[in-house]
């Protein structure tokens, strides 16, 4: 009898959506708790990195610490290069591999609305808000299979189409246009600010039966390790 009652309650909760935000908060807290010892372990494993790299990271670390201090003493909003950003924490990530969605801990009450661009470190394009509630929002990222957006690559601004997925790639690159590995890839669609970096060209493939080439990308961050992103408000 107790079990059936419990089932009925769980069934109602399963069908409703009232637990989504508390669940996201819980997941975020537990995730942070677990990620710290995991980060410590991984840093112990990678302790053999060369000293120059280590010195560089130390300097970056000091800059980041200063930035955290500044942010903790002021609003999460900041203006960089004439653009206003809102820093938001990643609450949770889409549970399965077929979508590249993330939930953020900021929503309509923080000034967010649908279609705003989401970035990593203010200048690297990550995705776009697709759903905004009062206190949280869902963003589609370039790791979402099936997402396509127009981009440009290299100093010559070669047109291409970015195909989202676990490993985002470029397609529809005209063969006659010169493009080399290491060239920057940046946003060029009308829905986003022009010139936000997405990554760099890793490898270019010629497709014998086609007039177009394809390319793989180097993304300058590990999406699984992201805990905070910025939303470009204006």
């Amino acid at each position: 009898m107790i079990l059936i009652g419990l089932l009925a309650i769980l069934g109602l909760l399963f069908l409703s959506q009232i637990l989504i935000n508390p669940k996201n908060y819980l997941v975020s807290q537990v995730g942070n708790l677990v990620s710290r010892p995991m980060a410590l372990l991984s840093s112990l494993i990678e302790i053999s990195r060369d000293s120059a790299e280590f010195e560089k990271l130390l300097r970056e670390n000091e800059v980041l610490k200063a930035k955290i201090l500044l942010l903790s003493k002021s609003s999460y909003r900041e203006t960089i290069g004439g653009h206003e950003y809102l820093s938001a924490k990643i609450y949770s990530t889409y549970p399965f591999n077929n979508r590249g969605l993330i939930t953020l801990n900021a929503g309509r009450l923080d000034g967010l609305k649908e279609l705003l661009p989401v970035t990593v470190g203010e200048t690297i394009f990550l995705g776009q808000l697709t759903q905004v509630s009062d206190t949280s929002s869902v963003a589609r990222t370039i790791f979402d299979a099936g997402w396509e957006l127009p981009v440009k690559a290299g100093t010559g601004g070669v047109d291409a189409l970015l195909l989202g997925g676990r490993e985002p790639r470029l397609t529809l690159i005209v063969k006659e246009k010169e493009l080399v590995s290491g060239a920057d890839v940046y946003t060029a669609g009308k829905d986003f600010p022009y010139g936000l970096k997405i990554g760099t060209i890793k490898e270019i493939f010629d497709n014998p039966g086609s007039t177009f080439r394809e390319a793989t990308l180097d993304i300058p961050y590990a999406v699984g390790e992201l805990t905070q992103v910025s939303v470009l408000i204006k």
Binding site: Q17, S35, F143
Partner: protein, 160 residues
């Protein structure tokens, strides 16, 4: 009375496994090379081998469903996930052979069936991701089978 306490303890252990899996499923902590395992699927299929009746299993499945809710509104992924694990609960009882191997086979089949029903284009758009996830799920399922087998014995221990 002792039997009731024993069953309650088993159920509590199962709930803890489901909660841990649910939390991990919502984060990227277990992501390897961009591939996230379906730890909730692996744990629930494994638990099917250790629970005899449907009602406690249904509680665990619904609890997982609540933890996996990602967006407001109707979520097809959640419904398909629930259907797949419930189907495999009944299927597990009809499989011949070793439960350990059956568990791994069902986890592999569950991964494929889940994506086939949810987003079949994903299967041929990113076959390596699906294969990678399947392998990852199998490894987690094997570990879970070993751990759950130790923590949730089927019968009451006999003390003299």
């Amino acid at each position: 009375m002792r039997q009731d306490a024993f069953e309650l303890k088993r159920m509590l252990i199962a709930v803890i496994f489901v909660l841990i899996a649910g939390v991990f499923q919502n984060t990227s902590l277990l992501q390897v090379a961009g591939i996230k395992p379906n730890i909730s699927l692996a744990i629930l299929i494994t638990l099917a081998f250790f629970l005899d009746t449907l009602l406690p299993y249904l509680v665990l499945v619904l609890l997982t469903g609540i933890l996996l809710r990602f967006e407001p509104g109707f979520e097809l992924a959640n419904l398909i996930f629930t259907a797949v694990v419930l189907l495999f609960f009944f299927l597990e009882r009809r499989l011949p052979g070793q439960p350990f191997l059956n568990n791994l086979i069902l986890i592999a089949a569950g991964t494929l069936l889940f994506y086939s029903l949810l987003d079949w284009r994903f299967l041929y758009a990113e076959p390596l991701t699906v294969l990678g996830e399947m392998l990852y799920n199998i490894i987690l399922g094997a570990l879970a089978f070993f751990m759950i087998g130790r923590l949730m014995p089927r019968s009451l221990p006999k003390f003299i």
